[in-house]
Symmetry: C2
Subunit: 350 residues, 2 copies
DNA sequence: AAATTGTTCGAAAACGTTTTCGACGCTATA
DNA sequence: TATAGCGTCGAAAACGTTTTCGAACAATTT
């Protein structure tokens, strides 16, 4: 026989007393509590998850939904696990557990999430790879499950934390213009990830501030893969006049882009400036090293955790003034892929 | 009021009937079953996980434990998520769910696993990053929880699936010797991962078969990171006589190694041959491209799933002759990092 | 017509835990 | 002495589900 009943019998106490001792209730004598704790440790008793969850109506578990296909194409250096580490750092103080829910590549994310929510597997959720007007937002709000997204879903208000896509796009354009570029391409995700909208917005704003007209042929949708980068390279090289620089909203295609350029005798960086959104193994190892932007993924996880807890009734007291929406700043990591243009075509604004 | 009770009332049936209809029992009229299914779909009823798990004594959930620190240093291209996709492909046929259990970097893996097991969160486990004589093996066997490991734990017999580290090490040496190399270094993990033992074993065997004596200074322990690769490079270049090639048991340090070589004016590939264990974004993007070995991670996941199910009483019937131990073959991906030596030093065996 | 079998459903128990509420003994107060 | 209060513990209910077992009825056989 296992469980709290066995432990109670072994200690010659009632189940209620044992339970209360283990859970730190105040109507238990200090000596008996001690005895119970010792006994539990000795017998290796840990409360059964299902029983506790059923009775309490809470699992003390938070799910982090990621899409395995999306992950394998988004993730060049284990982005998600680093973020998890930050989230867990926050959760452990509240005895909350984090589990990762991998949505298989052949399953609809919204359906998957719906099942998870309906089964009551978790108390709250973190979801990533947010799409523009992502249907999962409505689902979660409807089910009244606390959640936070890694990346907002358009203009609807909900708790989110995201990296500063718009700011990075803007800074990238500024930097390139400053270095003599005028014809700057931008690579956007092929899917409807909301970050694409934000990146394009920042790109357009920055162009406008420099008096450069937006040319739609310079905004190229790119598959999130090495092959996508190669295609991007071919596309860019066909444009007339040819762009002198390109900003990648995502770093993974950079390798393919370099390859496409090298195959055509174009030297990356020198003949075509390149800036990528996020520093990763890719941006570090390619030659010339790509100028990119970085942030602490662990801190990003901490922000996610805190934002989420501040929306949960049982925990919000601990985070009285946590922002429900939070843009995470990115720091420039200067590389060698965007040197000043040798023969800059000066724009009208300089 | 939620739950099966509400649904039963709404349909004017008993809870038992509804439950049996939903679970496909055979003592329910086809019409009533139809009616129940419709009603459940309409009301969006899904059985509560805790209630079901408590009653059945089974969660129909399998955990995949990964270590977030280990992951972020092991994972240059989202290895785990690709494997998950394969596992889920097997599981979905049996209505099993997969959740990923990320062990925080500041938590002891064995303790973490112990808690998971004691709480009865999952029916079975997949564990990765297996160490030599990993304490988790004994823990799982003791708790009688079905499990499979990604990588065996030394000589103890337990269900495992692993990539062919020994074979790859051997093939790498063969290939390098064939191309004129005699003084071949090998990079091994700094930690006690069992794959290090296997890799070294294959390396030694191959050397012996070519009549080359093993030199312990050529077996270098390397941190699983870019920085570790740089250190490796410095170490190798100090050796006299200098090795003409190096085999990496893990590809991530390759970038740092290249950097160390380039910094010293040594051309990777040409002046020092390089072979890396597994193809990844790293091996693809570095120039010259590294010769490596590849396999389908999805198939690896499928093998893991099948092996695990064949050890679970409720599912083993579906996998009558699945091997409990399985070495996954790796395929050579020839790159440009190990061309034939220009002035080969012929060994005694040729 | 009676007895047997088969089909379909419902009442109630069970899973392991927490929590409410009352019981009990003791001390301090009136 | 009687009463109130306090500290400590236990009995029992409750959480949502599945499953066992028997009831009710219809169909078939004797």
């Amino acid at each position: 026989m296992k469980g709290i009943r066995a432990l109670a019998r072994h200690l010659d106490l009632s189940m209620s007393t044992v339970s209360k001792a283990l859970n730190g209730r105040f109507d238990i004598n200090a000596d008996t509590r001690e005895r119970v704790l010792k006994g539990a440790a000795k017998l290796g008793y840990v409360a059964n998850q299902s029983g506790r969850a059923l009775r309490q109506g809470t699992t003390r578990t938070v799910g982090f939904m990621i899409e395995s296909n999306q992950a394998s194409s988004t993730d060049s250096d284990n982005f998600f696990m680093a973020v998890c580490d930050g989230v867990q750092n926050v959760f452990r103080r509240h005895r909350l557990d984090l589990i990762v829910l991998p949505c298989a590549s052949d399953e609809d994310p919204a359906e998957y999430l719906g099942r998870i929510v309906a089964r009551g597997l978790v108390d709250a959720l973190i979801i990533s790879a947010t799409r523009h007007n992502d249907p999962r937002i409505a689902l979660l709000e409807n089910a009244k499950v606390p959640f936070v997204t890694l990346g907002r879903s358009g203009d609807v208000t909900h708790p989110w934390v995201e990296m500063d896509f718009e700011g990075v796009a803007k800074l990238s354009v500024d930097r390139l213009v400053e270095r003599g570029h005028q014809r700057i391409a931008v690579s956007l995700p092929e899917t409807d990830l909301n970050l694409g909208h934000l990146f394009l917005k920042g790109y357009k704003k920055a162009l406008k501030s420099h008096g450069i007209p937006f040319a739609s042929e310079l905004a190229v949708r790119t598959k999130s893969s090495e092959a996508g980068g190669y295609e991007l390279g071919s596309t860019l090289l066909k444009l007339r006049p040819r762009p002198t620089a390109v900003i990648l909203s995502y770093e993974l295609p950079a390798g393919g882009l370099y390859r496409a350029l090298n195959d055509t005798g174009i030297i990356p960086g020198q003949d075509l400036g390149v800036i990528a959104f996020r520093e990763s193994l890719i941006t570090q190892h390619l030659v010339p090293r790509i100028t990119s932007f970085a942030t602490s993924l662990r801190d990003l996880g901490i922000a996610l955790g805190e934002t989420l807890l501040s929306t949960m009734p049982d925990f919000r007291d601990a985070y009285p003034h946590a922002a429900l929406q939070r843009i995470f700043p990115m720091e420039l990591v200067a590389g060698d892929s965007d040197p000043p243009l040798v023969n800059p075509v000066r724009g009208s604004d300089t």
